[in-house]
Symmetry: C2
Subunit: 200 residues, 2 copies
């Protein structure tokens, strides 16, 4: 229901209706709506591709990152929930356990694992938050830019205007790439870790 009509379309009464029951029946299986959200979020996290601990860390973490990105796009409500939830569940524990294990096997110190993991997660969530917030679909960038261009004041915002004009004129597609920043990060993490290996 949330996948199709958004998180606000999922009320206890509507959920109960879809199950041919009343709203209060749900409370026999779930403590409240917050627990329901936690379970939903767990379901998404379980769709992440867990890295193989003995695999090459770069490819393992890249594959996982792409799968996380895909899952968060499939379930657009998930990131919203992440911002209102608190305690980590066993689903997140399993995921982090694999990531940590993979990096530890590659010779990372605990601090290096933490920092590297955190940086990659940042890219995944941040890239997704921007894409989910972006109002137009990728195949409509040019037409959207043409439509929006008159609303971007040339005097007030000359550079933003020029940038939008480049997309409107078809000089470049205007599409960003999830793997661009991801690769930058992974490579620079590798260099950083190699340099600080003996220092740790």
């Amino acid at each position: 229901m949330a996948d199709q009509n958004g998180l606000e379309a999922l009320s206890m009464r509507k959920l109960a209706g879809a199950l041919n029951a009343t709203a209060m029946s749900i409370y026999n299986h779930v403590k409240g709506k917050e627990e329901l959200h936690t379970l939903m979020l767990d379901h998404v996290i379980n769709e992440f591709e867990h890295p193989d601990i003995d695999g090459e860390w770069k490819t393992m973490l890249k594959r996982r990152a792409i799968s996380v990105y895909a899952a968060l796009k499939r379930h657009k409500w998930a990131l919203t929930l992440m911002l209102t939830k608190s305690a980590p569940t066993s689903a997140t524990l399993r995921d982090t356990d694999r990531v940590v294990g993979c990096l530890r096997n590659a010779g990372f110190s605990f601090k290096q694992v933490d920092w590297a993991h955190n940086a990659i997660e940042s890219h995944i969530y941040g890239y997704t938050i921007q894409e989910l917030n972006f109002p137009v679909e990728p195949d409509e960038y040019q037409s959207a830019a043409q439509h929006f261009l008159p609303h971007i004041s040339l005097k007030e915002f000359p550079h933003a205007h020029a940038s939008a004009k480049a997309v409107a004129d078809g000089d470049y597609h205007g599409m960003t790439d999830f793997e661009f920043g991801l690769d930058l990060l992974i490579e620079s993490i590798a260099a950083w870790q190699a340099k600080n290996q003996q220092a740790e």
Copy 2:
């Protein structure tokens, strides 16, 4: 009100009460709650430190990134709103205009600007989303790790357990750094841009 008690504590009636008025009076100044949220978000965006277009892009974008990060931490509800909002406002336009201008002056192509900007934004939002979601304060990491350690199954999640144990034992503080990933990104973007300069 949202800063102090969270976004859900800001209802039209409570806001009106704080202004010594009734809920419906607000609708004479604002179209609805969605517009109220947009205005609140704009207020946060206006707290961002706009980069000097003629400054050195690395330091300019780094300073801006840190100010964005600080603003999003001051107003914890802002990121949540970003995920439910749609059209960009003039406040966001002003911000992106400065960023784009700064990078353009540094010789970036439009595509390079877009990709670099997007990657840096990803780090800011993603890092913040994790920090806001994290349940414990930095000065309580060790005690929190000691408390949570028994709940992390050694058999099921050995690496996560070991990582938490390292924090609990005080082997390392367990604190990540916003500027770590930021610096990695900025430096690798600089290298990438320099290499592709003549190719664009």
